[in-house]
């Protein structure tokens, strides 16, 4: 349905006269609608062409603009957050999957004076639907941000074309997400957990490394408020990933920045990882609960209820610890100091600091790939968990390097190599997750045993679950050999050699 911006001096009579060749206008009474735009922190709806709004006008409605599909609206009792809180039906089906584990958050708002109406033919039949909106963007404190604009929705292309001929009328987007978000300091698509750093291949290594570390520091800072507010589990997750990536950059790209600077930063990043560890582990268990329930027979699934409530209590404690850490002077001193240290153009004294970053990147990627091969090729048929864990860490390091330096290599090649690596990582991650979760189940059984609400049924269900996880782990271990053989195969070796060799020659 086209939407047009009309000049403020276009009155009802002129509008009706302009529409005369199409039909008679019939307009309903004006009403006030408060619209709040909802999306995840990382714009998961916007990224797939969807715009979700909550409209308050008497009741609450959720309205979805979904690419070219007809606009959709449904009543809702409360503003939805995570996918499970969406009203059942089309909205839950359509956007539930897009949300994943993320929560909807308000990202902008408008106040609309709205009149719905129609254009009728001589017989009173519907020719076109109309919606006249006087829209004022509202800032995050609820005050107006800028002048009101008047827009017309009209689902009749000829009528829209006639309106367009009036001076000052122009076709505009079907929503005000961009301007509404701007008043809240956001731009659609402005955050992604993926690294998006554009490096110049000839740039000195010290400048490039600082740019990467600054980007990661921004990710840590951007996620702090959400991690404290606890909108969803991904704020802490993204914050932790940015910490790990930073540490990986510091330890893998040595000889560039001065150790007096990097060593204390590394220690603080390690502290952040450690202090958020229990929370993340508990989040993973809670996110896995539905799958746990499906792994045991239905009668045993109900027996897992005390496990879930115990996990939730532990999680609340773990979150309080994270909040204390993120509000501490230690954290603010670290972020401020680290930012100040990275915001310099002075050449770093390291022996590799002035090398073109592309050379350094090629060296490090090459070295990381070889390290995985070295460790993997000496494994026997039944490798110990520690050896697989080592390869998992090696693979993660290579993954981070490919992400840091993606802009220096052909995009397609990097994507393909990440794909090769991802298959291996998924299996190694599976082996590790099952190991960690089984260990945690044993600990949980120990913790829960004395609780009066925990019966034999619960402990038995935990036992069955541990068995199911072990079977899964065996499955992953079985898949590892084939996945590693693929990763170490000639074509993949050759592709990695090509990726790093080409760049070193340039």
């Amino acid at each position: 349905m086209p939407r047009l911006l009309t000049p403020p001096d276009l009155d009802d009579a002129s509008f009706a006269a302009a529409m005369k060749p199409v039909g008679e206008i019939a307009l309903g009474p004006a009403r006030i609608v408060i619209t709040t735009y909802l999306d995840t922190f990382d714009w998961r709806l916007f990224n797939v062409g969807m715009v979700l709004t909550e409209e308050l006008a008497g009741g609450r409605r959720l309205c979805l603009l979904d690419n070219d599909a007809a606009p959709y609206a449904t009543p809702a009792e409360a503003r939805p957050t995570i996918a499970e809180t969406l009203p059942a039906g089309h909205l839950a089906d359509r956007i539930g999957r897009a949300l994943g584990v993320r929560s909807l958050l308000p990202v902008g708002a408008t106040r609309i004076v709205r009149r719905d109406g129609r254009i009728e033919d001589r017989n009173g039949n519907l020719v076109a639907r109309l919606r006249l909106d006087e829209v004022t963007v509202i800032d995050s404190r609820g005050g107006p941000a800028g002048q009101a604009v008047t827009t017309v929705w009209i689902d009749h292309s000829a009528a829209a074309a006639m309106l367009e001929r009036i001076a000052g009328v122009s076709v505009i987007a079907g929503h005000d997400l961009v301007t509404a978000a701007a008043a809240w300091g956001r731009t659609p698509g402005d955050y992604s957990s993926k690294l998006r750093i554009q490096l110049d291949p000839e740039e000195h290594a010290d400048r490039a490394l600082r740019a990467i570390l600054l980007d990661l520091l921004s990710t840590i800072e951007i996620n702090t408020d959400g991690a404290i507010a606890d909108h969803d589990s991904e704020f802490v997750h993204d914050l932790r990933v940015a910490c790990r990536r930073s540490r990986s950059a510091l330890t893998q790209v040595k000889g560039v920045l001065e150790p007096e600077l990097t060593a204390p930063a590394n220690a603080e990043l390690k502290w952040l990882g450690k202090v958020t560890n229990p929370l993340r582990d508990l989040d993973v268990y809670l996110l896995e609960m539905p799958s746990y329930r499906s792994l045991v027979p239905p009668d045993a699934a109900a027996d897992l209820a005390p496990v879930e409530s115990s996990l939730r209590r532990s999680r609340a404690r773990a979150h309080r610890a994270v909040v204390r850490a993120l509000r501490s002077t230690r954290f603010s001193a670290f972020t401020a100091g680290w930012r100040a240290a990275l915001m310099t153009d002075a050449p770093a004294p390291g022996p590799e600091a002035q090398r073109p970053v592309v050379e350094l990147a090629a060296d490090r990627v090459d070295r990381a790939y070889r390290r995985i091969l070295k460790h993997g090729l000496r494994l026997g048929d039944d490798p110990p968990a520690t050896a697989l864990h080592q390869i998992r860490i090696d693979a993660k390091k290579l993954r981070y390097l490919l992400e840091f330096f993606a802009s220096l290599f052909p995009a397609r090649d990097v994507a393909d190599r990440v794909g090769d690596l991802k298959r291996l990582q998924d299996i190694l991650g599976g082996v590790n997750d099952m190991q960690v979760q089984r260990r945690r189940l044993t600990e949980l059984a120990e913790e829960l045993r004395p609780e009066p609400s925990v019966g034999t049924g619960c402990l038995l269900a935990l036992g069955r679950l541990a068995g199911a996880l072990e079977a899964r782990q065996d499955g992953f271990r079985h898949d590892f050999h084939n996945a590693f053989a693929d990763f170490a195969s000639k074509p993949v070796r050759h592709a990695f050699e090509q990726l790093t060799r080409v760049r070193r020659q340039t």
Partner: protein, 246 residues
């Protein structure tokens, strides 16, 4: 997608007003709803201001190559689209018979609609025909408006027998329509009907706002949402939703 037919073999019992108001209530409830006007009189189309004319109307029902969902027209109301009637539908029986396998064809058409809608409400002509046979064989439930009168209740018996003979598991959900609380016979017969567990418990009253739909050309809830008739249709919709499991 769930499909509901509003059908009875007696005319003038509030069939079309029920179809329009229930479709409006379902759409307001967040279901992507299509109201399919199969009655050549085109009253449902008239109420929703959609001109009763469908391009290649009969072909749209009989030919597999035509995607019926493409022909649905938006109404003034969110989530509510309409397949308007066409006067050519008076020959739909003959056309379906000539095309062969009427039930399969009908089922294929509802499948088309299912790609874009969550609910289809079919306003069927008040007659026993090949169309009604195909409809009762295909839909999830048949909603039967019943005026508390002897004739209307006799008709319900006929509908139940017909659906039992031809239906394939469609539920028959009768409901009281046009109930005039001032008439003792209405009240007595209504009580008798509600003792039948098959009946929906919400009764639609006889009301001038429903009669005025011909003037307002809109569902009652769109013009006078607080009127008892509007509230009755909303409650009736909720009861149908829960019974059918939409």
């Amino acid at each position: 997608m769930k499909s509901l037919a509003v059908w009875t073999v007696k005319g003038g019992v509030g069939k079309t007003t029920a179809a329009v108001n229930l479709a409006h209530a379902a759409a307001g409830d967040g279901l992507r709803t299509v109201l399919w006007d199969l009655d050549p009189q085109g009253a449902a189309s008239f109420y929703l201001r959609i001109p009763p004319q469908l391009d290649e109307a009969v072909d749209a029902v009989t030919r597999r190559s035509v995607d019926l969902a493409e022909l649905a027209r938006p109404t003034e109301f969110d989530n509510l689209a309409m397949l308007p009637a066409d006067f050519a539908f008076r020959h739909l029986d003959l056309a379906l018979d000539a095309a062969g396998k009427p039930r399969k064809r009908f089922a294929a058409k509802l499948k088309d609609l299912g790609r874009r809608f969550d609910l289809a409400i079919l306003d069927c002509p008040p007659s026993v025909s090949l169309v009604s046979e195909a409809v009762v064989k295909t839909v999830d439930a048949v909603l039967v408006p019943v005026i508390p009168s002897t004739l209307s209740m006799r008709t319900l018996h006929q509908v139940r027998t017909f659906v039992a003979e031809h239906g394939r598991g469609a539920a028959v959900l009768p409901f009281l329509s046009m109930v005039d609380r001032r008439k003792r016979m209405h009240l007595e017969l209504a009580r008798a009907c509600l003792a039948d567990p098959g009946f929906l418990t919400v009764a639609v009253p006889s009301a001038s706002v429903v009669e005025k739909m011909g003037l307002t050309r809109a569902p009652v809830a769109a013009t006078l949402p607080s009127q008892p008739a509007a509230r009755a249709f909303a409650a009736l919709w909720r009861e149908i939703r829960d019974r059918v499991g939409v």
